[in-house]
């Protein structure tokens, strides 16, 4: 279970004319490398190595940096570079540059580049670049979250276990729960909403895993908790501490994914019964949650969608409700990002992050996910193979078929090549290798011939032969006792004679 990871991040620092610090140790261009250690536990250590190349701008980059706004510059620079996954380019612009807005000294673009204002000396610049690199690749916290199985309890933050485990695929299920079809005829145009809002994000994430999306409508599906009526606001409230009990009764109706083995992400839209609406979710402080939604780590999210009461009481039931999908999808997409660990961390005010736009995900955020998943995959492979080895140690006469053996060899070599690629800074090939390693190791581990129940345990074999062993042991034990007795007497006798 011991593992030494070495993660190499290729970083290019490009100085625009007029931004080169005076105290540069060597003339441009030159290379430099910095290493830091992230300790996870006693046997797992992660070394991150930033391989920094310092150089000046080319003429075309200079032209691109002449753009009016940072966003335009980002677009223009993206055309020039063909940055592989995991690599970062940082452009240092002069302190007086008008590219960055007032008060902003770091701008992170949609792709794999950032603009940094040259302020202070080289030391200040280095510290800033370092912080930026961590934001755009990985931090000690994100690596610890990826290796959360190995981190001792109590050392992790509350968010660390929220992330979905790395898997080869995910199934996303949107469910509309209508507990009261008699009074509400709820319609949602989920097909269009998925194509418009979810699919671009998933297209981008398709590098990470396979995704399948489906939806269903469940009638007469109720929450497990009866909401409390609040007289002041004449509404119903679900308090934060009762939310854990909400999911279980619904879960039974969701239907598991019988046809695949991938983890399922559930997003539920709950339209409360007429007798229980409007329904609001209350947080720990007693204030109503503005989005009226909550998420459950590694499971999915629930949103409560209130139907406005009809103006006149003589409306014929059922009331036709068309769900506003923009509002719903905003919440679900935010929850999706949270579940994948893509939430944006708290950053100093001088950092400006470009919004990822329609794709919902910037290139460097994808890289972050890939770093974390690669590390997690390798850790999973090592855990799987270790427990397989433990099983083999326990049952000596287990039969390892040739195909299982070749899967194990494949897993080990893929994991090793993933480690090698990681330390060489090739994120994409490292991730692919780690995926192959996971597939092979799982196939070996879950091979039906390796079920330990198939093998007769040794202690039971002994039990069967007890009728033989017991009568045979009696004379042996008796004679042993006799020998001991005689030996003791022989010892006693000479002392008496003396």
């Amino acid at each position: 279970r011991s593992a030494q990871f070495q993660l190499a991040v290729p970083v290019a620092v490009v100085f625009a004319p007029g931004s080169v610090p005076a105290d540069l140790p060597r003339p441009l261009p030159f290379r430099d490398a910095q290493e830091t250690d992230i300790s996870v536990n006693l046997r797992t250590s992660v070394t991150s190595r930033y391989e920094v190349t310092y150089r000046g701008t080319t003429a075309r980059e200079e032209a691109a940096l002449d753009a009016a706004t940072a966003r335009d510059a980002d677009v223009a620079l993206h055309m020039l570079q063909d940055a592989p996954l995991g690599s970062l380019t940082m452009y240092v612009v002069p302190e007086t540059s008008s590219l960055l807005p007032q008060g902003i000294s770091v701008y992170v673009g949609k792709h794999r580049s950032a603009l940094v204002r040259a302020e202070g000396g080289l030391a200040a610049l280095r510290a800033r670049l370092r912080q930026l690199t961590q934001v755009m690749s990985f931090t000690a916290a994100s690596i610890a979250a990826a290796l959360s199985d190995r981190v001792p309890d109590g050392q992790l933050g509350p968010d660390a276990r929220r992330h979905l485990k790395s898997s080869l695929g995910y199934e996303i299920t949107f469910s509309l729960l209508n507990p009261d079809p008699k009074s509400h005829a709820v319609e949602w145009d989920i097909e269009d909403a998925v194509n418009r809002y979810v699919q671009p994000v998933l297209d981008k994430l398709s590098l990470v895993a396979n995704f399948s999306v489906d939806s269903q409508i469940l009638y007469y599906a109720v929450l497990g908790v009866t909401p409390r009526f609040d007289k002041e606001s004449s509404s119903f409230l679900l308090s934060a501490h009762s939310l854990p009990h909400v999911i279980n009764p619904v879960e039974a109706r969701l239907g598991s994914s019988a046809a695949s083995l991938y983890p399922v992400l559930n997003f539920l839209l709950y339209v409360p019964e007429r007798s229980h609406s409007p329904l609001y979710i209350q947080d720990k402080d007693g204030a109503t949650v503005s989005t009226n939604a909550f998420h459950s780590p590694r499971w999915g999210g629930i949103m409560v969608y209130n139907v406005e009461a009809p103006a006149s009481p003589q409306v014929s039931l059922p009331l036709r409700v068309d769900v506003d999908m923009v509002r719903v999808m905003e919440v679900f997409l935010a929850q999706l990002r949270l579940l994948f660990g893509l939430s944006r961390e708290e950053l100093p005010p001088e950092f400006l992050l470009e919004s990822p736009g329609n794709e919902g995900l910037a290139d460097w955020e994808l890289d972050r996910l890939l770093w974390a998943h690669t590390v997690e995959n390798i850790a999973t492979v090592s855990t799987t193979l270790t427990s397989l080895a433990q099983l083999l140690d326990k049952i000596g006469n287990i039969v390892i078929k040739d195909d299982v053996a070749s899967e194990v060899y494949q897993a080990v070599s893929s994991a090793q090549s993933a480690m090698a690629e990681l330390s060489a800074g090739h994120l994409h090939s490292a991730f692919q290798a780690s995926k192959e390693a996971v597939t092979s190791s799982e196939r070996a581990f879950f091979d039906p011939s390796l079920l330990h129940l198939l093998y007769f345990p040794d202690d039971q074999k002994f039990a069967i032969y007890i009728p033989l062993f017991l009568p045979m042991a009696v004379p042996i034990l008796l004679s042993l006792a006799k020998i001991v007795r005689e030996a003791r007497q022989r010892k006693k006798l000479p002392t008496k004679i003396d």
Binding site: K182, D189, S215, I217, A252, S256, A258, I464, P467, P471
Partner: protein, 579 residues
């Protein structure tokens, strides 16, 4: 040719695309629910629930992933495994055709699964295995025990019930598990597939404790593609969930044949499922023996429906739960039926086709399976397809197969026999037999019982081994000419099997499952042998050990043993000097 094919496909696709583009105002799936209550000749009452979800979308193209009324679990299964038609039935008890008449939907005791796969499926056996495993998870049934030893590919008996172009029987798989016990854990997932669950509509009557307190319980799921409209250019998918239960009201009702919904289900109906476009209760009030007004149903039905069902003219009282007038007077509907006059149930109308099967012979080596097929039609002969699947451990002697009708040998016009392979596949025997009018046909075949390996015995092997029901499929000539019916309009209970023409109707019957004893070893014997041998070895070892380790030395007789002392006492009495 390819271009034409592509064009046709494009034309087929076009309406689907157009419909998909339309805003979600029009519902593309509809639900119909129906309950048929029919008093049986012997005094029992059969209740048949049918829930039909029709979805105007093509599941196969894979583009569909947004479900409304159609259950997602089944839809994904159909799409992922290339299923064209799926029929699963879980049954407890046996439908007594002789006493109860022709069943609306019969299923063999235990679990029955038959599936047609799409021609695009390359490895049918793998898909079949996967499908049975997933279904066993969905329905909590032991369908995962379906393997090659109980799966057959019938050539003639099971034709697709839905839309099909080409009936290559290599795409068909059929399996029966006669040992399967059906209970609540199978009913709950079945109810969960209904859009309204058991919360509203007819499904509120499905209370497990009443349903399983009955003579016969059979629940089924049928999925098939059907024509979307009369022109049949596009495909819709139909899911039928059926549940048949037979209550013995005669013995539980103090010898009276009267019944009500509440007496049978201990619930009454209060509303229709709000998602259903049709929700009806049919009560069979057909006059028997030309005597009208023998029975009385309350409350008064909303309408009367007359139909020709299985060659018989039937009259049904219909309660439409969606009609507002029904719940005007009372808040709940409790259909009651009263017989005005006690009628003698001595003469039961015998169904045209019925069958019996039993195993005969003595000893544990050989035996004989006999099947009796009755054709009680007074003047018409008709052919019947008999499908017999026998596990490999009963080795059939095909040369002993005899078919005798009215004392003469009856030569089947078609025989398909696939011999069994030990531990690999069962026997499959399919025959097309002509049944003369008013006749009994006896089919016998002898078998030998095989010895199993000791790990192959089921738990409780002395109970015996089941042989699944044999299947009879026939087009029975109808006495009354039938009209062609529109599937969308007619009641559900008449529309599962496609009717061929007006002169005959399709019947599928299942015979009794057989219970055969196999030579069973004493399973504790190995352990007994181990114990005995070990004891013998241990005793031998002990004495040898003693012999080898003890040191023997001669002991001087000191005062003599007990015998000597006794002898001396006796000698003292006698006055003789001691030894």
């Amino acid at each position: 040719m390819a271009a034409v094919g592509a064009l046709v496909q494009l034309l087929l696709l076009l309406p689907a695309v157009l419909e998909a583009a339309a805003p979600g105002g029009t519902q593309r799936d509809t639900l119909r629910e129906e309950l048929l209550l029919s008093p049986l000749p012997a005094g029992d009452v059969a209740a048949t629930f049918q829930f039909r979800t029709r979805w105007d979308a093509d599941l196969q193209r894979g583009a569909v992933s947004h479900y409304r009324l159609f259950p997602k679990a089944l839809g994904r299964l159909v799409a992922a495994l290339g299923v064209r038609e799926l029929h699963l039935a879980l049954t407890q008890g046996f439908w007594r055709t002789q006493a109860w008449g022709q069943p609306p939907l019969q299923a063999p005791a235990g679990a029955e699964l038959w599936v047609w796969f799409q021609p695009t499926v390359t490895d049918v056996d793998k898909a079949w295995k996967e499908l049975s495993n997933i279904l066993s998870g969905i329905f909590c049934a032991s369908l995962n025990f379906i393997d090659s030893t109980n799966t057959v590919t019938p050539t003639a008996s099971f034709k697709p019930l839905g839309l099909a172009n080409g009936t290559d029987h290599h795409l068909l798989r059929y399996a029966v598990l006669p040992r399967e016990v059906v209970c609540t854990e199978n009913l709950t997932p079945w109810k969960k597939l209904l859009p309204c669950g058991s919360k509203a509509g007819l499904a509120v009557l499905l209370k497990a404790e009443r349903l399983f307190h009955s003579s016969y319980h059979s629940q089924a799921v049928h999925i098939r593609p059907i024509c979307r409209d009369a022109s049949c250019l596009a495909v819709s998918w139909e899911l039928r969930q059926t549940l048949t239960v037979v209550f013995d009201t005669f013995s539980s009702g103090q010898g009276k044949k009267d019944w009500s919904l509440f007496r049978m289900f201990s619930r009454t109906l209060t509303d229709a499922c709000p998602l259903a476009s049709q929700s009806k209760v049919y009560v069979d009030i057909s006059p028997k023996n030309k005597e009208k007004d023998l029975l009385e149903v309350t409350p008064p039905p909303t309408s009367i429906h007359e139909a020709i069902v299985q060659g018989d003219k039937r009259t049904y009282a219909v309660y439409d739960l969606l009609s507002p007038s029904l719940f005007n007077t009372s808040r709940s509907l409790n259909v009651q039926l009263k017989w005005k006059r006690p009628q003698d149930s001595s003469e039961l109308p015998t169904p045209v086709l019925h069958a019996q099967r039993y195993v005969s012979g003595y000893g544990l080596q050989t035996g004989e399976i006999s099947t009796l097929i009755y054709n009680t039609h007074p003047y018409r002969a008709f052919p019947v397809i008999l499908l017999e699947t026998v596990p490999w451990y009963l080795r059939l002697y095909v040369h002993t197969l005899t078919i005798i009708t009215k004392g003469k040998e009856n030569k089947p016009s078609y025989i398909h026999y696939q011999p069994a392979q030990d531990r690999r596949r069962p026997h499959l025997l399919e025959m097309l037999i002509q049944l003369p009018a008013n006749s009994v046909t006896k089919i016998t075949i002898q078998f030998e019982r095989a010895l199993l390996k000791w790990t192959e015995y089921t738990p409780d092997p002395n109970h015996g081994f089941y042989v699944g029901s044999s299947v009879l499929s026939a087009l029975v000539p109808s006495v009354i000419a039938m009209k062609d019916v529109d599937v969308e309009q007619s009641p559900l209970f008449t529309s599962l099997f496609p009717s061929s023409d007006g002169s005959s109707y399709f019947v599928r019957l299942y015979t009794e499952p057989l219970l055969v004893n196999l030579p069973t070893p004493d399973f504790s014997m190995p352990y007994n042998v181990i114990c005995l041998t070990c004891t013998v070895v241990a005793v031998c070892y002990g004495s040898f050990y003693n012999l080898l380790t003890r040191t023997f030395h001669v002991e001087e007789p000191s005062r003599g043993g007990l015998a000597k002392r006794l002898a001396n006492i006796i000698r003292q009495f006698r006055g003789v000097p001691p030894l």
